[in-house]
């Protein structure tokens, strides 16, 4: 099992470290040739405008869309979610368009409003998940076939899945809780996530 983490800018090392703790090979991806032979792709947090620009410049957008179309699991966290969205407030046309969701960037405010909060994510079991929100985006609308995995107490959607695609506003890679990473791996393996193991 090999997971590729887009490593152009942002928190890619943290994702690679989280997968390593699960004994999974995770490799940094900066160029299209590095997408060969992967079982999943993670687009990490960072600045979506910067990552978007570099992904386009180095020809990653087309190949990632193609691989996702063939069924390769893709997970976007924070800026990665913005890039996965079919529609994002800005960059308006810059996203990969891999999920039928509309995302508003920095919807939860500037850095002084960044926060931590325990989240209820039924898919991952009963134990609360530590949510780390940094200048976080929100999912404003979900298309048919998109499942909300997590909502804030006010109802705002902060994690969702659609077939082999996964998106979250927060940063599981900045915590010690590996359940979200484990859940993504079940998509790559094609087997069921067993809550009971947690």
């Amino acid at each position: 099992m090999r997971i590729g983490v887009i490593a152009l800018q942002g928190g890619f090392a943290e994702h690679i470290a989280a997968f390593s703790r699960l004994d999974i090979d995770a490799l940094p991806v900066r160029l299209p040739s590095q997408l060969d032979g992967l079982d999943g792709i993670v687009i990490p947090g960072g600045e979506s405008t910067a990552v978007n620009r570099l992904m386009r410049e180095y020809g990653l957008v087309g190949p990632i869309r193609e691989l996702a179309g063939q069924g390769l699991p893709v997970w976007g966290t924070c800026a990665g979610m913005v890039l996965l969205a079919g529609k994002a407030s800005t960059p308006a046309n810059g996203s990969l368009g891999l999920m039928d969701i509309e995302v508003e960037r920095n919807a939860l405010g500037r850095q002084v409003d960044s926060f931590e909060s325990d989240l209820s994510i039924p898919t991952l079991g009963d134990r609360p998940f530590p949510g780390v929100f940094i200048r976080a985006p929100l999912i404003k609308t979900l298309g048919d076939g998109v499942e909300a995995l997590c909502r804030l107490p006010n109802g705002a959607v902060v994690a969702a899945s659609e077939a082999n695609r996964l998106a979250c506003s927060f940063h599981p890679e900045l915590t010690d809780d590996l359940r979200f990473h484990e859940y993504f791996l079940t998509l790559s393996r094609g087997d069921a996530f067993t809550k009971s193991s947690y």
């Binding site: 900066r30 920095n106 850095q111 909060s117």
Partner: protein
Amino acid sequence: MEKGTWKVKTGLAQMLKGGVIMDVVTPEQAKIAEDAGACAVMALERVPADIRADGGVARMADPAIITAIMETVSIPVMAKCRIGHFVEAQVLQSLGVDFLDESEVLTPADESHHIWKHDFRVPFVCGCRDLGEALRRIAEGAAMMRTKGEAGTGNIVEAVRHMRAVQDGIRRVQGLPQEELMWEAKTLGAPLELVIEVHNTGRLPVVNFAAGGIATPADAALMMQLGAEGVFVGSGIFKSGEPVTRAQAIVKATSHYQDPAIVAEVSRGLGSAMAGLDIKTIPQQELLSSRGW
């Protein structure tokens, strides 16, 4: 729900990694920086090269400039306050700035004490010349570090010196037997707990960028290969012949710092870099990096 935690402060710095933070003095420059792929901008009244040339007392920028830049771009906006000037820091935090740089580029307000940064909800970045200085700032609450380098010179030599000093310090602490850590903490002038953390992890507790003198894509890649996790470019972009191309080139070189072919490609036909300064020609009292301790 808890705001302004250590995790969200250091976490924002982690999300800036692999990126370029550019000094800008107008909303137009901020837009150019954002479009070029900057991961954040530093909103200033004057870039360091001009501060150096103008002399006099350099202070926090006019809030009108900072606010105008915040309204123009969607990426994080940083601003500088003077060393020890906690009221400038309060003012900048109230504007909603995303990151504060307690910076030696401005004239210090306090020659003994830096700001107690734990009191703030906004994260701080501070400059350092070696491991001891980095750990002192982190103990005061800095959520991100950068080398001081020698700002406004377009000369990378001091940034290299400071990055090597930090890395040497880390390697040394890592290799020491436990019973020597107390002495090392005393020698470094740094808290024992942080020295122990560096000993155990082999890295600074927060992200460390390079700053001060970066003028070319190769400068940026050099600092990344020396262990920087991202770069600040001050005067190097908007004091150069073709800021747009240079900004894009430095972004690409920072991302692909391990790939000399890409650094070569982006370095082609960039026009003139900013005119540089030999550090040895700068009078001792005008060196910015010796401000703060």
